[in-house]
Every structure is written in structure tokens, then in C-alpha cells.
């Protein structure tokens, strides 16, 4: 039931001239324009590479560069393994198995997503540090003193790997689960009639089918690792991001800092190439449109306990424990934060995150769809470049946004002063527009990866069918793809929303006067080592993030093919064969 479809996307509209590049279509032009605008900040930074900075660069090479490279690579490797080991198995468990608490776990496993990495790092350090409650209790119980026992050092490279893994595995989990849920039951049933047990179906059928989604999730997590500043800075681990800051400001050499950023970007290119390469050999599409509810494997005994433990552990460590510690601190410091100001903070944060998510997903859809409709090397490169911002630290993006915006404002202002004698001042700099632009640049990759993964699973014959019935490309998108991709789109919205909620560096430097967000508040206090006082803002980030996480999780679950019937019947698990779901006019073409 799996075919290796033609490696070309659906055919472009018929043109008088042969060849794809001969006459760029409207989709291609739009995609390249959007991509160029979004790539501007990254390109601006990249342009600094050509400014010579020989002396500082050789100083870096002699002293810190090796360490930056080694630590960043180790961090990538550790977190990469970590998010896969946690994310994929739990996604499989909650998607196709039945065990106590499964319904709760399927959304609870997303919760750590709402936890900013630097906050979880601060929280665990507060708890596990030598002077923290855990070790103090241990010393009191055993009567041992410093140096007389071994305790893992939280502020280490391994500690950073753990912290980042705990908050980043949901990327892999979310995308992989969405992929499992969208898989046709026929594929799995065939694998089972051919004699595969549950493990073999997983390893040989479901996992390969979900591979694009797994890799997309992994790529997102790894790019996030490369851009992380807060955690590694607090743990004192020299990586590319801390190096960029230090070189830019401490050594006062933006050119050398940009060259570091360029090396960082080359890491990203390698990641992207690896991802492409892993997908190159085959594109999998379901040929069957017969979706029906998947019978779940019912786990019993120790297997059920193991499944519960496997799902509980990441939620406990990545969410419940830190959230509890934050709550304790928040209650202790309540007089510091219970005021109307706080409501305004929550509103600002929510508003920005919702806006940025809507824009980022819309643009991602345009780009991904353009690739599908009128693919070709130019569009492909443009789309890749537009997504680069995700691996670039927020501050660097912010500077990349400020440079062209300020240039535009000041040039326009000069022209107006010369011609009309009026000053237009700053039109773009210091507005929410600049901030939203930076968010989209930074987080487009999140929506793009998700949307592409979703779009890639829709077989091209669907497009052909729609087109042969006379539907234009835009119509195909809105009437065929969007309804099928509902779950994917919501996932993309959720991911960007939560990312913006947590975003700090770009917000800090680009926001207008008297405009704060929860992340800014949490950072100001945590950065000044008032951890307990920052807890209320950190907790609010988590809570504001929680609502959409739960809502969207339910929607994603419902978006599963065949799920609507199940919801009506209410006892889907026992039903081996469900009526085939064919949502209005989309399937069965």
C-alpha cells in the first residue's frame, strides 16, 4: 500500500513554453519574494563576513574557537539522541497502544514545550545545586560534608543536554505523533496480515513512513539547540552563541561575531542537507484513501506499567517538578506580582504570540505550496534560506532586523526633510511590526517544517485529480489540502505560538516603549538572580502556553482520519472495522 511516487511534485500549470524555469509562475515569484524579504536579516548579518577582522579572528582561533565547535557539536549530539529516544517511542505508545492514562498523556507530553529552556535550567539549578534543598537534605540525612560524596553537577555540558532534551523532545513527539495519526490503517493492517508483530510493524512500516516527520522534529530541536543562549550562558558552557555575544560586545568586533554566526549557519546547512539526503531516496505516500480508526494494542501487566513510566517520566521531569518549584516560589513572592500590571503582561504576550503564529503559518503555507506547485531549484533554495533564521540566536536576528529597518527609516526621513521639509522619524524601527517581523524570521522554520511534512504526505495524485476536475492551484490548496492538513496546521500554529511566548532576546531589544512581555519580566528578575521573584512570570508563560496546548491537542486528535465517527460512537477501541470516513469532498478522489 505504499508507493514510491514520482520524485517530482505535482505538475505545474500547463504553459506554452516547455520547462519549469522558462516562465516563472505566480507561485514561484511570490515564494521567492517572500523568502527574500524574510532572509534579509540573516543575509545582512552574513554580509558582515566580508568585512575583514583578521586579528580578532586569529585570537579566537588560537583561544576559544575549538571549544566553541566541540561544545556545540557535543550538545547537538546529546540533545539529538535524547529527543529521539524520548520523543519517538512515546509518540508511538500514545498513538497506537492503549494503557492507563493514555488520553491524558497524549496532551500532557506536550507540556514541557511551554517551559523556556533557561527557566528550567534556573529551576533545576536552584534545586540540585550544592546549596539547594536536595543536597542539603542529603547532607543532613547522611551527615556527609562537601567533597565527601559524589553528586552530579547540574551546571555542566551533560546538565545542559538534559535540560534542553527535556524541553525540546515535544517537537519530535508532536510531529511524529501527528504522522502516526495520519497513517492509513490499511498500511498497518497489511503489515500485520503479513505476519509482523507490533514491534515489526513499528520498526518496518510505521517508523519509515513517519520518518520525514521525525527528522523534521529533530531538525527543529537541533536548530533550537544551536540558537540557545540562556541555558549555556548560565551553565558557563562556551558555545557558538555565547561566543557570538562575547565577540560582538566584549571584544567589540561585529565582523568577527558575524563570522562566528556564519560558521553556526554552516552547521545548519549541514543539518538541512542531511535531512534532504535522508528523504532523497524515497518519498512515501499513501495510495489508499481508506482511513479508518486504528485498533489499539492493549497493553497489560508490566508492559502497561512500563508504558506509563515511559510517558510519565518526561512529563514529570520536564514539566511537573519545575512547575511545582515555580509555584512554590510564586506563592512565596505573591506580593511582588499580584497587580494589574501583570494582566497587561499576559495580554501583550498572548497577543504577540497569536499574531506571529498566524503570520508565520500563512507564509509557510505559501512557501511550501509554491514548492509543491512550481518546484525547481530556485524556489527550493529560496524556501530553505527563508527558514535559516531559526538557528540564529534571537539577538543576532534582532540586529539583522534593526539594520535594514533603521536604514530605511533614516533614508526616508532624510529624503522627506530634503524634499518636503518634514521629518517622518522612525516609521518601522521600534514598532510592533518590527518585532513581529523578527518573530516570523526567527520562527518561520518551525511552521515551514511542519507544513512541509504535512504537505509531503498528501500524495500528488490528489492534486492531479483536483486539477483534472478543473480546480485551480489556489482552489486545490483551500479545498483539498487545507482540510486534510488541519491537524498539521494547528500543530504549526501551536509550535510558533509557544516559541514566541518564550522568545526573549529579540523581544527585549526590538519592543516599543513601555511594552513588556512575560518573558521579559521573567528574564529581568532571573537575570538579576531573583529567581523566586521571576517565578510568577515564568509560571504565567507556562500557563498561557498550556491553554492552546490542550485545545490544539484535542483538535489534532480529532483531526485524525476516521476519528469523527469514533467520537460519535464513543467506543472506538473495541471496533475492529470502522466505517470509512470520507470528509466532504476531499477524499476518495
Amino acid at each position: 500500500m505504499i508507493t514510491e511516487a514520482a520524485s517530482q511534485p505535482a505538475q505545474a500549470p500547463r504553459s506554452w513554453l516547455p520547462g519549469r524555469l522558462a516562465r516563472p509562475g505566480i507561485w514561484q515569484i511570490t515564494a521567492v519574494t517572500v523568502a527574500l524579504v524574510l532572509a534579509l536579516p540573516v543575509l545582512v548579518i552574513f554580509a558582515h563576513v566580508f568585512i575583514p577582522s583578521g586579528e580578532v579572528w586569529s585570537h579566537l582561533r588560537e583561544t576559544m574557537l575549538g571549544e566553541y565547535v566541540a561544545n556545540s557539536l557535543l550538545l547537538l549530539f546529546g540533545v539529538g539522541v535524547g529527543v529521539l529516544v524520548i520523543g519517538v517511542p512515546v509518540a508511538w505508545l500514545v498513538s497506537v497502544c492503549e494503557f492507563p492514562g493514555r488520553r491524558v498523556f497524549q496532551w500532557a507530553l506536550m507540556l514541557p514545550l511551554a517551559m523556556p529552556a533557561y527557566i528550567i535550567a534556573y529551576t533545576y539549578t536552584g534545586m540540585l545545586d550544592f546549596a539547594g534543598p536536595v543536597q542539603t537534605l542529603f547532607r543532613e540525612l547522611t551527615g556527609l560534608g562537601f567533597g565527601e560524596y559524589w553528586f552530579p553537577e547540574i551546571r555542566s555540558l551533560t546538565g545542559a543536554m538534559l535540560m534542553l532534551t527535556l524541553v525540546l523532545y515535544p517537537y519530535v513527539y508532536l510531529l511524529t505523533r501527528a504522522a502516526f495519526l495520519e497513517q492509513s490503517v490499511c498500511v498497518l493492517e497489511v503489515s500485520r496480515t503479513l505476519g509482523s508483530g507490533p514491534y515489526a510493524s513499528f520498526l518496518r512500516v510505521a517508523l519509515p513512513l513517519a520518518r520525514p516527520a521525525v527528522i523534521a522534529g529533530l531538525t527543529l530541536a537541533l536548530m533550537e539547540v544551536l540558537a540557545d543562549y540562556g541555558t549555556v550562558a548560565y551553565f558557563g558552557i562556551p558555545t557558538f552563541t555565547t561566543g557570538i555575544f562575547r565577540t560582538w560586545y566584549g571584544l567589540a568586533d561585529p565582523a568577527a561575531a558575524a563570522q562566528l554566526a556564519a560558521v553556526l549557519l554552516s552547521f545548519v546547512f549541514v543539518l538541512i542537507l542531511l535531512e534532504r539526503w535522508s528523504r532523497m531516496r524515497a518519498r512515501f505516500h499513501h495510495t489508499s484513501s481508506r482511513y479508518s480508526n486504528l485498533p489499539r494494542y492493549r497493553l497489560r501487566g508490566w508492559k502497561a506499567s512500563a508504558a506509563v513510566a515511559a510517558c510519565l517520566l518526561p512529563v514529570l521531569l520536564g514539566f511537573l517538578i519545575p512547575a511545582m518549584q515555580l509555584s512554590i516560589w510564586a506563592v512565596r513572592t505573591r506580593e511582588h506580582w499580584m497587580n494589574p500590571d501583570f494582566a497587561q503582561l499576559v495580554f501583550n504576550t498572548f497577543y504577540l504570540a497569536a499574531m506571529a503564529a498566524a503570520i508565520a503559518v500563512t507564509l509557510a503555507l505559501v512557501l511550501a505550496y509554491a514548492r509543491r506547485m512550481q518546484g525547481g531549484p530556485i524556489t527550493a533554495i529560496a524556501v530553505r534560506v527563508a527558514g535559516l533564521g531559526y538557528a540564529v540566536p534571537g539577538t543576532v536576528i534582532a540586529i539583522g532586523v534593526m539594520l535594514p529597518f533603521a536604514w530605511f527609516d533614516n533614508t526616508f526621513d532624510s529624503l522627506m526633510r530634503d524634499w518636503l521639509g518634514i521629518s517622518t522619524g522612525l516609521l518601522l524601527s521600534g514598532t510592533l511590526f518590527a518585532l513581529l517581523f523578527a518573530y516570523v524570521v526567527r520562527f518561520l522554520a518551525v511552521s515551514l517544517q511542519t507544513v512541509e511534512a504535512g504537505l509531503g504526505k498528501i500524495k500528488p495524485s490528489m492534486d492531479d485529480a483536483a486539477r483534472s476536475l478543473g480546480v485551480r492551484p489556489l482552489g486545490t490548496l483551500t479545498r483539498v489540502h487545507l482540510p486534510i492538513m488541519r491537524g498539521t496546521l494547528l500543530t504549526a500554529l501551536l509550535l510558533v505560538f509557544v516559541d514566541v511566548l518564550k522568545e526573549l532576546p529579540a523581544t527585549l531589544i526590538l519592543r516599543p516603549f513601555d511594552f513588556n512581555t512575560l518573558a521579559v519580566r521573567a528574564f529581568e528578575l532571573a537575570g538579576d538572580e531573583r529567581l523566586a521573584e521571576s517565578s510568577s512570570a515564568a509560571l504565567a508563560i507556562v500557563l498561557v502556553g498550556l491553554l492552546p496546548v490542550i485545545l490544539l491537542s484535542l483538535t489534532i486528535e480529532r483531526s485524525r482520519p476516521g476519528q469523527r465517527q469514533r467520537m460519535r460512537r464513543r467506543n472506538g477501541d473495541s471496533a475492529r472495522t470502522e466505517p470509512i470516513a470520507v470528509p466532504a469532498g476531499t477524499r476518495g478522489a
Binding site: Y234, S429, L436, D514, E524
Partner: protein
């Protein structure tokens, strides 16, 4: 329906983003870029508005980035006043020509010469010292003398200090370059690194806690962190802080390293008069006392009393180095620490 709501959201987003007004600067306003975080400046700004009727618009952020923004915005920048928490940043702002000279007899009279810029580009608002802190159980203060003496092998594996990426350490090392020269400071940094109890990690409070817990015996940290722990309402923090003694080094020589938080009026300030008025207000007696009581900083005006907590740490002689030099030697300091392996 989903599609429509998506489209609506998108349109709303663009509309709202573009429609939002740029912060205008009318009369009776002053716009502040502050590296001093909101809760440590807003109360004073509110008082200023109450007393003068001038509205204050505030943007907080990291000093380097605010400076970058100021530089890029150029002559159209809405900012009137830049506030930072390190003299090095103020010096860099002056070098970047984003500050304008202020000639205020009030400020010149109130603020000692070494805590303000020669040309009036910036003025100090509050002081903080970076002394040696020690565990009272394991260290006898008579063993301590100067920053330089911390490289003595007897301190091997006993010193805690935060990362060299931190501006306070960069300024400390810059002050040593200014008085001892590059070569001696390089040797000193290597000697200090050899005596580290652990790779640098965490903030100043973490160093104090580590010294109290016995991870190390000596921590180098800013006074207000310890002051905050002593004066705060968390009994656990207070208990930790009480195990720590403060030693002000180099009393027979140049004095203990101090730094300032300070402010300057920007080069293209739309409301320069209000800016000067604000800085004068921040050096007023009431504001000065506020720094001391709320954030445990030393007032920049010698005649204003410090808080009881700070008084309990004792008087000391502060390094009288011209603080502009901290900014001048900043990059050199970072290189020295890079080479010494001070992470």
C-alpha cells in the same frame, strides 16, 4: 471556518502591526533607554512623573543592545536618556557619539569627579563595590590583602568567580590593566584561574552560596547581591549570607574596585531639557536613599547615608580610577581572560 479564521487573524495581525503608532515625543515627555531593569528604576520614574508632571516612557534591555539600537536609530532616535549599570558601557556610548555633553552645575556639584565624565557625557547615579567575600569558618581575614594576592598558591582550588562573559568581571580586569598594565594582568589572570575551585558558572549570588556551602572559600561578587540577601525577607538566604564575611582589598594601595550605574543625555534627544531634569532628579537625595535602601547600592553622593546593611559591611577606600578607562580596556580584558582560560 478554520480557513476563514486563519485569514482573519492574518489580516488583523498586519493591520494592528502597521496601525500602531510610533512612540511620539510631545512636550512633557522623556524617553528612557535603561539597562537597569524595570523594577529597579520604575518606582523612581513614577515619583519623577508625580513631582514634575513629565511622562516617562521606558524601554529596558541589555546595555550593549540598547547602545546598538541607539546607534542605528541615529538622529531619529526617540530616546532622551540612556541608563546603564556599568561605566564601561557609558564610555562606549560616548565613543559611539550617541551621548551629548550636559553642563549642569547641579550635577557637577553633587557627583564626585571620578564618577562622571570629563565632558559631562555621563554621570554616575549609584555605586557598587566588587570586594572579596569569604567563608567565615574557613578563612581568617588576616590572610587576605589584595586582588593581586589571590594568585598565591595557598588559594589553590578555593576561589569562586563567575564567567568572564560578565561585564563586572570584564570591568574588574580592565581596572587591573589600567593600574598594573597588560602583562602583569595576564599573569594575574592565569594565576587566578589556576586557583579556581570550579569552572565559572552561575551568577554572583551563586558564588556567594557556593562559598557558604564550602564548595570554595572565597567568592568575588558585587556588594548589592550580598546586601540583598542580608536585607531580604527570605530566612534561608539570610542564613547563607551570614556565613560570609566581606573583605575590601587593596586598602593600602589604590582601593577596592568600584563601578557605577549611570546615565547620559542622548545626542539627538528630542527632549534634552527633560532628560537633564530626570538625571538631576535621580541624583536627588530621595532617589539616592532609595538606591541604598531598596537595592543595597552605595549612593554616588558621599553625603547621603548608606543603608544599615551596607554600613555593617564596613567603610572602605574605593579605587579612584577614572571609570572611563574601564570601557577603554574592555576588549583587552576579554582577550586576557580568553588566553588565561577563564571561561
Amino acid at each position: 471556518m478554520f480557513r476563514n479564521s486563519l485569514r482573519l487573524l492574518g489580516i488583523a495581525a498586519l493591520g494592528a502591526a502597521i496601525g500602531l503608532p510610533v512612540s511620539a515625543s510631545a512636550d512633557g515627555e522623556v524617553n528612557v533607554y535603561s539597562a537597569r531593569q524595570e523594577n529597579l528604576i520604575k518606582p523612581l520614574l513614577d515619583d519623577f512623573t508625580r513631582d514634575t508632571g513629565i511622562t516617562v516612557n521606558l524601554l529596558t534591555g541589555r546595555a550593549d543592545e540598547l547602545l546598538q539600537r541607539l546607534r542605528l536609530e541615529g538622529r531619529n532616535s526617540p530616546a532622551d536618556v540612556l541608563i546603564t549599570v556599568d561605566a564601561g558601557n557609558l564610555h562606549q556610548a560616548k565613543e559611539a557619539e550617541v551621548l551629548s555633553p550636559v553642563d549642569s552645575p547641579v550635577l557637577n556639584e553633587r557627583i564626585p569627579e571620578n564618577f562622571r565624565d570629563v565632558d559631562g557625557h555621563w554621570y554616575g547615579l549609584s555605586l557598587r563595590a566588587r570586594p572579596i567575600m569569604y567563608n567565615k569558618d574557613t578563612v581568617d581575614p588576616s590572610e587576605l590583602s589584595t586582588y593581586e594576592a589571590l594568585t598565591d598558591p595557598k588559594w589553590r582550588g578555593r576561589i569562586c568567580i563567575r564567567s568572564s562573559s560578565n561585564i563586572y568581571n570584564q570591568s574588574l580586569v580592565a581596572s587591573m590593566i589600567a593600574s598594573n598594565g597588560t602583562e602583569a594582568t595576564s599573569e594575574w589572570a592565569e594565576g587566578l584561574v589556576a586557583n579556581f575551585a570550579r569552572p565559572p558558572q552561575g551568577g554572583d549570588t551563586d558564588q556567594i552560596r557556593a562559598a557558604a556551602a564550602g564548595v570554595c572559600d572565597i567568592a568575588i561578587a558585587n556588594t548589592y547581591y550580598l546586601g540583598g540577601m542580608l536585607a531580604g525577607d527570605d530566612p534561608e538566604q539570610r542564613a547563607v549570607a551570614e556565613q560570609i564575611g566581606v573583605f575590601f582589598p587593596n586598602q593600602d594601595g589604590r582601593g577596592t574596585h568600584v563601578n557605577i550605574s549611570g546615565a547620559g543625555v542622548t545626542a539627538h534627544a528630542p527632549n534634552p531639557g527633560n532628560g537633564v531634569q530626570l538625571i538631576e532628579y535621580l541624583t536627588g537625595e530621595e532617589a539616592q536613599r532609595w538606591y541604598a535602601e531598596v537595592n543595597q547600592e552605595y549612593p554616588v553622593r558621599p553625603e547621603v547615608p548608606t543603608s544599615e546593611t551596607l554600613q555593617s559591611l564596613g567603610d572602605f577606600k574605593a579605587d579612584s580610577l577614572n571609570l572611563s578607562l574601564l570601557g577603554q580596556y574592555n576588549a583587552e580584558a576579554v582577550r586576557i581572560m580568553d588566553r588565561a582560560g577563564w571561561r
